[in-house]
Homo-oligomer: 551 residues x 2
């Protein structure tokens, strides 16, 4: 891909009108010439904070100028302020408070309305900045890494190589498919050697990367969460999720332990445990229950309750061919099922990316009535988590989404998304927890919670990432939280709650976030807002933009 | 008008879920009951910053609840934090940094997305706050003034009266048509006496108010600026503007002085000055020129140039019946007119609320070619001014406007508006100046300017107010700047440049604002943005949302 490099023209922000107008004309001419040559991308350097007019001119041409319909602009920004080195020479003097080049870019981007045609070409510096400064770039629309030949060392065979620290940065950014630009004088036998070396580092990074199966093609792709109560899942959807190598083995473990705990060894032959699998789908939890019973050497009778008539077909044929008499298949919505007896263990998997967002609490209200007083629910609890995130890509994705909703409603809808081009501003914190069985009267599944997040560096918040973890039974857990992730599990991507307008955060800010889980007779929904350091209006008021239908 | 008072229920923001849910239910029930009684407005007190859940509940009911379609809510806020008095008792201790109740309201309003159904009932305090704190309320959606009976003094006849300071506040707010609520125990012979007294103060304030003629009914009403180049003005529009008692007498003064300066007494009989009135409309500036010549005892020949064929009819009949041979009527666009001779004085009135926004600079390019080297242009210069303003009402008005544009374009369009419910955050500063005659080559009427405004108290910026002043000749000036306003003139209301998202400003902030005046062959337009303390994207990029057509 050929990219046009535009001249450095800081004079477009000159206070001298003549100088300014001359430079403006040159800049526009260069951009139009690049477009004339058929190039779709140009690159220009930022040198500081003073570039409001440069922002206006470039923004006005990128994608908005009738002669350059496809133009993209990359802004080249160094990772470290070039004056840091110059400053370190003057010893004894106080270190000046140098602007972080990320601030240059951020000011620029905001003036350009975070237009998706404006991207970053990040210039690697010899001295690398602190880890948070590096990871913040992961939330930006990075398009290119710029490496000066002076960054390269020479190995024993005479070829150019990078230090471990520089290699690791290239590996961290590898999944973003960046174009690498080598700049500066050739200091080795051929310019090709640099490219070959970079290719080599890229290939290594792809090998070593912890690839999530079934995630390829879903990177930063916004999906509407499933509505399993309103829509019957398709067979292919079941097919994919049944392949999860972790989820069902953890359920098996949980059921195994519950059986062992409930039935002493000496009653193994006489005590028949009644298990109800509610929301049985095509049967994987029934199979897991039978396997658990076999391993534990305990007797069980199983009810497989499922509302989807299409899945019932599979359940009935499994019963006929495999399960036989130990399993009773019930074609009924679990909330309406008048069970013929009480059960010992209630097994369900009604969890969404945010824990309760597929309405597990509401669904279990029905069958829990048939759980014996000493009965066990698997899962016995689940908790949702949130944290603020920075991701131009996700935020732009919301606005561009093909979702059939007015623009403002798109920003008041949660999305399920495998988040890659994202900077996680803080660690996540727990929000709502549900326990099962839930014996409280009256039952109330609404929630209101507020959390404080301490901001440790300047950043831009584009919304919140949501996760969950669940206790199936005792120490058997499932988690999609990055730090406790159930390794190898692929059934859930995180959830993303956007906000309409990005929030500028400063180091030291205390961010206060409010979430509500609300319900009426027809639906359940979330609302969210920010009350500090700025006020963000309550999003999704009354569930008008997004909700989860109960029927 | 009967207003429902809701109970104080700070417990809706309690961290105890039971207490919170009980209070929520009570609050909702009270609001629904008020609605059941047919009341359209309820009033509730704010007690501090901690009311995020209260904000959500009220916002969710106001106008968004199917059972309360017309509900309005007023939030009662004291002018001064009630703890100020309590605190002053503890002498020797340091004065605590008390929250300003405006902050309570502001947080609340922002969480409610500045919904127009949420208003303020402002409670007058015994001790009044500083002037800026009072005037900031002028930018808020005030609906009611709440006066406690304890604020009233007793006059010699035994009737309740207010102190001068309290009277003056009521007078300042009188033009906003607020409902006055008297609260507290009756401390005089009848509760009627309080109302009679308030009526009396209101009536006095209406008498004393500096009423702008022809402005009644236009208060805070957003109008699209005229486009006299693209549209021919209607006769009624000329009719209204010709009635301005100040503008034409100032033009007469300017022309008079110019004639005296150009022609010495001894040449009075022989030297015939050629005056071109360009954009003559229905002739008021021709009449002013003739009167000026008569007063000055100087000879003139006048060309009256007008592009509107409808106005030409009036000009021709005036020539036939009144002006006779001294005036030549020319039916032509001034930009295309091949004048038969050069002139001494070029008279025009092509000014808009923002000075150059009706394209005076572009229009005068043509006729200025026919101005003698020592000729005079009246006006000889004009300057635009801007300042940040706070006005929920104007900002809401933009979104609701019937203008046939997509929502986001409405916020990228300037409006002409007689601004009443507005707080002017800072004094205005000059932006662009145009001088005439303009002898520069090549002629360039584009401009770029940036201004810094020092913020002296916390506030919310909803955009910019624009004004102009013009030098007609020497010390003869026209101004719509509040401090130098040409008293009695009514031809121009200020202009309002909105911004999409309100900006929260803090005391001590330096606000940096950028404006561009840009042009292509078809149109002229403004762009604007904010680069500090936050970045606001460039508005009206490439004139895509609003522009002034050249043809």
């Amino acid at each position: 891909m050929v990219v046009a490099r535009l001249s450095d023209l800081p004079e477009v922000d000159s206070d001298c009108p003549e100088l300014r107008k001359q430079s403006e004309a040159m800049l526009v001419q260069e951009m139009l010439f690049a477009s004339h040559l058929g190039l779709s991308t140009a690159i220009v350097r930022l040198h500081g904070m003073r570039h409001v007019n440069l922002a206006r001119i470039t923004y006005s041409i990128v994608g908005h100028h009738s002669h350059c319909p496809l133009f993209q602009l990359w802004f080249q920004v160094p990772m470290v302020n070039p004056e840091v080195n110059a400053a370190s020479f003057r010893e004894g003097e106080e270190q000046p408070d140098l602007e972080d080049p990320w601030e240059w870019w951020n000011k620029f981007r905001l003036l350009c309305n975070s237009d998706k045609k404006v991207g970053v070409a990040l210039e690697l510096s010899a001295d690398l900045p602190d880890e948070p400064v590096i990871s913040r770039w992961l939330g930006e629309p990075l398009k290119s890494l710029v490496l000066h030949t002076s960054l390269f060392l020479t190995n024993r065979k005479g070829y150019p190589v990078l230090s471990q620290a520089h290699q690791s940065i290239i590996k961290r950014f590898a999944h973003l498919n960046l174009q690498v630009i080598i700049t500066g004088a050739n200091r080795h036998s051929s310019i090709k050697n640099y490219m070959q070396y970079i290719d080599h580092v890229y290939q290594n990074s792809v090998k070593s990367e912890q690839r999530v199966p079934y995630s390829s093609g879903y990177e930063d792709h916004l999906q509407i969460p499933l509505q399993p109560l309103m829509d019957n899942l398709e067979s292919t959807t079941y097919e994919v999720f049944e392949k999860d190598p972790v989820k069902y083995s953890e359920y098996l473990n949980a059921i195994y332990q519950a059986l062992i705990d409930k039935v002493p060894e000496e009653e193994a032959e006489t005590n028949v445990q009644v298990i109800m699998v509610v929301g049985a789908g095509r049967g994987p939890l029934v199979t897991a229950s039978l396997k658990a019973a076999e391993s534990a050497n305990r007797k069980v009778r199983i009810y497989a309750v499922e509302k989807n008539p299409n899945a019932i077909v599979t359940l009935l044929s499994l019963k006929e061919e495999v399960w036989k008499d130990s399993v009773t298949v019930v074609s009924c919505d679990m909330r309406d099922w008048p069970a013929p007896e009480q059960c010992d263990i209630l097994v369900s998997e009604l969890l969404g990316s945010f824990g309760d967002n597929e309405l597990s609490p509401e669904c279990l209200d029905g069958p829990e009535k048939f759980l014996k007083p000493d009965g066990i629910s698997i899962p016995c609890s689940y908790t949702s988590y949130i944290r603020p995130l920075q991701s131009s890509r996700l935020h732009n994705g919301v606005g561009e989404g093909t979702l059939d909703k007015p623009f403002h409603k798109k920003f008041q809808t949660p999305y399920v998304v495998h988040q890659l081009n994202t900077y996680n501003i803080t660690p996540p914190k727990p929000l709502f927890t549900f326990h099962h069985p839930n014996r409280e009267t009256p039952v109330d599944h609404t929630r209101y919670g507020h959390l404080n997040f301490h901001i440790t560096q300047n950043s831009v918040c584009h919304g919140f990432a949501g996760y969950f973890d669940a206790v199936l039974y005792k120490d058997v857990k499932l988690s999609i939280l990055p730090d406790t992730y159930s390794k190898g599990m692929f059934s859930w991507f995180p959830i993303y709650f956007p906000i309409k307008e990005p929030i500028r955060l400063k180091k030291g800010d205390e961010m206060e976030v409010h979430f509500w889980r609300l319900a009426n007779k027809k639906k359940v929904w979330y609302e969210w807002c920010v009350s500090s350091p700025v006020q963000v209006p309550v999003h999704n008021l009354n569930g008008k933009s997004s909700s989860i239908g109960l029927y």
